[in-house]
Amino acid sequence: MQVRKKGFGMAALHLVLIAVLIAWIYPFVWMVGASFKTQAELFADRLGLIPASFSLENFIRAWSLANFNQYFLNSILVTASTVLIVLTTTSTAGYVLGRYNFAGKKIVTNILVASMAIPLGFSIIPIYQLLKILHLTNTRIGLILAESGGANIIFILLFAGFFRQIPKELEEAAIIDAASFPTIFRRIMLPLSQPIIGSVTIMQSIWSWNSFMLPLVLTLSTPRLRTLAVGLYALKGENSVDWAAIAAGGTISLLPIMIVFIFLQRYFVEGVAGSVKG
């Protein structure tokens, strides 16, 4: 009796998920279909998902107009480096803010959280000034640093929240063994936070990958350092919009992110099963 009920419940769940997902991913499928349509076809058969012919001309045009050759690699380099730096800084900060009380913690936490509320729309100018003083404008390192310094207070909070809820018993054992502070972090805490590591990786990847204004301004004089997002914006001008190419460009450029996402799935599954000893 129980098993059959469970089977029915599972089938119903699948049905609901699939129904929702059809509507859910419709715009995405449209974008992929539009990549193969001609510009005129796009507006004539506006909602059709299947293009009349699978022409690759949009992809080719997007590739050359947006300088995919040069910029793709730049985007990968910048994104990967930024993610590494952000993971390092936010996990360490989140760890101490989440699990320890120390002098000055409250002030730091309050300042960090309060800063989130202030829209930093025009931080371009002061950031540019700063990098100029450091002689880091128009360099890849400068861009990576600026990207890493962005709004990742969010990730610190995520790590902090996660680390806070890890039971104390897990580190007591290590303290008895006289393990040092960083060792406890590296050997015990960090591996437990895999789900957050996964989340931060994917979110920061998306952010850096699509980041546009900062790379544009910081690489104004050196086009060879520009990222893909900057290149793709060339397709959306003031008077003429190359929708078909934008669709094609958008389709290509999200592939690396999706690959990262799929690769990260295992981080969401392992969890903390079996780590609590009686």
């Binding site: 005129a40 507006f43 990968i76 590494l84 000034q129 204004m213 004089s221 003429s240």
Partner: protein, 483 residues
């Protein structure tokens, strides 16, 4: 093992980033004596981008030793980046004056250098009369900037001949007045039965609503300056705000009537001009009020479109004025910090030279009308382009310009703060039904504008006592050119 694999991959990529950087820099250090001069050009002319890219290649071929690095942005992106670029020493060699900035202001900032010494003495002669005017692109005789295109009004009425026929209208007789346009739109909407509508607009674009409001009101005698940026926020004849001029009220009511008739395509307020253009091209609307660049765009994207060109409609109360234009505008100049001003000047000359193909190609493809002598007459091949030009210039007259007539007004433009929401916002609101009482809203805008002008003049007097409201008042009959 597997979980750290990702971290390892990321680390490898990161170190690649740093190493690759190092290598490139060391290559630069070994200075190459035969390095070509690199000219950095930046603007927002996306309509002509393809032709500009072709021109750049032509220029490089004819001038070995010079490489062109061209970046095309949107107006907003440009405003955001040019600040950092210029103020922190990273300016392109050639770039336009940002929209909204006054030539006097940018020259005072030291952004541009005079071009006269870099070009032959007869450079200016190659352009149409009126292209250069003091206060606009020339200061005290020194040339700083060249216009990109010939000034032509942007609010003529394109129509779809096929839809005219379907509605029982004569495809060779476009409407001439507000009432006629409204009637025709109604008929087309009725014939469309939901498949096509009378008129479409890029409803999200406030600047289009603004151009239409000002241009049509001007035909009724409002005497406001047309064009972007506006050379004056008030009427050129009275010096008082004309936002509540009877012709403006009539214009607003006209557009509102089009909306209440149901003639506007239902997507109007969800789209911008490029989408509206595409939908018109696809036959979903009978009318669209737009500029000349659309002709070339449709020729490419919708070659089967049976395009008709009609004049901007005249208010029912009669034509009492014209769309006031200035032939002189300020576009591209040479950065004062450019390392290669001579090469930059060469590039600038080439863009306007009949020996290169740039002007000819743009006119031929219907992207813009040229400011260079002799180009428009020779190379306009598309009959719709010709029609647009003639109709537009019939509606237009040369208007006075406070910047040219009174250099002391420079202080005004540096200080003036726009009243928001502006006339474009109000027209958008009126048509979308968000503003119930149009007259009251226009009266309010007019009053606020007058106040802002008065306050700014008072403040500017401290900098330059010569400035007065009189500087903005001219003896001009808007049915004629201003002499």
């Amino acid at each position: 093992m597997k979980k750290s694999a990702l971290i390892v991959v990321f680390a490898m990529i990161a170190s690649m980033a740093l190493i690759a950087e190092g290598q490139k820099d060391s290559k630069k250090a070994a200075a190459d004596p035969k390095k070509p001069i690199v000219l950095k050009v930046m603007d927002w002319s996306d309509s002509s981008k393809a032709l500009r890219d072709a021109f750049n290649k032509e220029f490089e071929a004819k001038n070995p030793g010079i490489k062109i690095e061209y970046t095309c942005l949107t107006i907003d992106q440009f405003k955001n980046t040019v600040l950092s670029a210029v103020n922190l020493g990273d300016a392109p060699d050639l770039f336009p004056i940002p929209v909204g900035m006054d030539l006097n202001a940018v020259v005072k900032e030291g952004w541009f250098q005079p071009i006269d010494s870099l070009v032959p003495a007869d450079f200016k002669d190659g352009f149409l009369p009126g292209t250069f005017a003091d206060g606009i692109n020339v200061i005290k005789g020194k040339l700083y900037a060249v216009p990109e295109i010939g000034t032509v009004p942007t609010t003529m009425v394109f129509y779809n001949k096929e839809l005219f026929e379907k509605a029982g209208l004569d495809p060779n007789k476009p409407p001439k007045t507000f009432t006629e346009l409204r009637e025709y739109a109604k008929k087309i909407t009725a014939a469309g039965k939901g498949k096509f509508y009378g008129i479409i607009e890029g409803g999200q674009q406030v600047n289009r609503w603004k151009s239409e409001a000002i241009d049509f009101a001007n035909l009724g005698g409002a005497a406001l300056p047309s064009g972007e940026p506006m050379s004056s926020p008030v009427s050129l004849i009275t010096g008082k705000s004309a936002y509540n001029h009877p012709a403006m009220i009539e214009t607003f009511n006209f557009f509102k009537a089009l909306a209440s008739d149901g003639s506007y395509h239902p997507s109007t307020f969800s789209i911008r001009a490029p989408e509206a253009r595409a939908l018109f091209g696809a036959g979903q609307a009978g009318f669209i009020i737009q500029g000349v660049w659309c002709v070339g765009a449709w020729a490419q994207s919708h070659p089967n479109l049976k395009l008709g060109v009609g004049p901007a409609p005249i208010p029912d109360s009669g034509r009492k004025g014209s769309i006031g234009i200035n032939a002189a505008t300020a576009w591209m100049g040479i950065s004062s910090k450019s390392a290669n001003p001579t090469a930059a000047a060469k590039y600038l000359q080439a863009m306007y030279s009949p020996e290169y193909g740039y002007q000819k190609a743009n006119v031929d493809k219907g992207v813009f009308f040229s400011t260079v002598k002799g180009i428009n007459d020779k190379y306009i091949s598309n009959p719709n382009l010709k029609a647009y030009y003639e109709l537009a210039m019939e509606r237009a007259r040369i208007a006075p310009n406070p910047k040219t007539a009174h250099p002391e007004t420079a202080a005004f433009y540096a200080d003036f703060k726009d009243v928001t929401p502006g006339i474009g916002d109000l027209l958008q609101g009126a048509v979308s039904g968000a503003i119930p009482d149009i007259t009251a809203a226009l009266n309010e805008l007019a009053a606020k504008t007058d106040q802002a002008v008065e306050a700014t003049i008072k403040k500017a007097k401290a900098r330059n006592p010569e400035i007065a409201l009189d500087d903005f008042i001219f003896k001009w009959n808007p049915m004629e050119d201003y002499k």
